[in-house]
Symmetry: C2
Subunit: 209 residues, 2 copies
């Protein structure tokens, strides 16, 4: 029962690239650079010993093997998604209800979170609050506010301010800290806080800080 499998990372890269027939577009879907996708796909092709794409100067074509492989891989990802949602529905399919302190809300774009398609996919709505208790009662899934805490039993990610601006705290249940919804929201907050995005990094702390 020892499976010999290519790594999921390389398969995701392949699947996205094959759907778009473009490393660049795939990269933006996956939130990485085109070089990363290129490397992952090459790694997959090496491990299989089979070329999946024909590289053209302006895009990609699937080889016969790639053409055969794509639908199977897509189905595997769908099955995996279904299986995962069956046991952890909230995490995987539900959009977040976001609590935002008014002070922070004032610094977000007018139409947040509807300014970005990606964010709309991850956020159901938001309520103005700074009450951590609403996390425990499940009224909200995450909370964004200026400092505070400690947040025993909750996960905290600190979003530093640029210059003298105050840091923000992103708080949620520990199981939600690494899910895609949290990541999308954090990424957007980071972007908003810094037009020099290279210089600011969120600081992630363990639960209970």
């Amino acid at each position: 029962m020892t499976y010999r499998l290519p790594s999921l990372n390389t398969l995701r890269a392949f699947e996205a690239a094959a759907r778009h027939l473009s490393f660049k577009t795939a990269a933006s879907e996956l939130g990485v650079t085109a070089g990363a996708v290129s490397q992952q796909v090459k790694k997959l092709e090496n491990s299989l010993g089979v070329a999946l794409f024909r590289r053209l100067p302006h895009g990609l074509l699937l080889t016969r093997e790639g053409e055969t492989y794509l639908p199977s891989i897509t189905k595997v990802f769908e099955d995996l998604t279904d299986a995962t949602e069956a046991i952890a529905p909230r995490i995987n399919s539900k959009k977040f209800r976001v609590g935002i302190c008014s002070q922070v809300k004032a610094m977000l774009p007018e139409n947040w979170p509807n300014h970005s398609e990606n964010l709309r996919n991850h956020v159901r709505d938001w309520v103005e609050t700074r009450d951590v208790e609403k996390l425990r009662t499940d009224e909200i899934d995450c909370l964004i506010r200026p400092g505070g805490g400690p947040y025993a039993e909750l996960a905290l990610v600190i979003i530093p301010g640029t210059g003298s601006a105050e840091a923000w705290h992103f708080v949620c249940k520990p199981g939600l800290a690494d899910c895609s919804q949290s990541k999308a929201i954090l990424q957007d907050l980071m972007r908003i806080r810094s037009e020099d995005p290279g210089s600011v990094h969120a600081v992630r702390l363990s639960p209970g800080n």
Copy 2:
């Protein structure tokens, strides 16, 4: 079409641990330490927000969610294996025919490669040869011999000797260098060459050296 997926590494750890109901046994199947499996499973549980195991002092039990998840995950791995074998049959299902130079053979255990279950799973048989040409004619899948080369168009992994012992060369087609068969064989050779395994590392070179 953006899937939200747990990482394959964590799923493999879960699947093996769930089948064996033991991190330790799973670890030995996967060729890592029990701590690594424990960490991976915990990471998966965190990302799902659901406990998959109940930890007992002397073993594991699946939770209801784990019980539900296991068969789906097993099936996903099987489907993935099938899909992969359909486009790259040789790499994924066939056992290797190994070429070994007599000089090296003399330094292997009497019953190599039948001394280890893992190795038996990856090696069909071996022939005494040092002829690189047999790789190109597909009579063998990999070749183990003392130095030599260059091996244009072939992949080479160098297995250093301890002390003054001569290094060995593991040569195969580029597409085969990273497959599980090669890995299993290399791992075993490394182990044989050093009872102080921490001090020796195979050196992997690009094709064409």
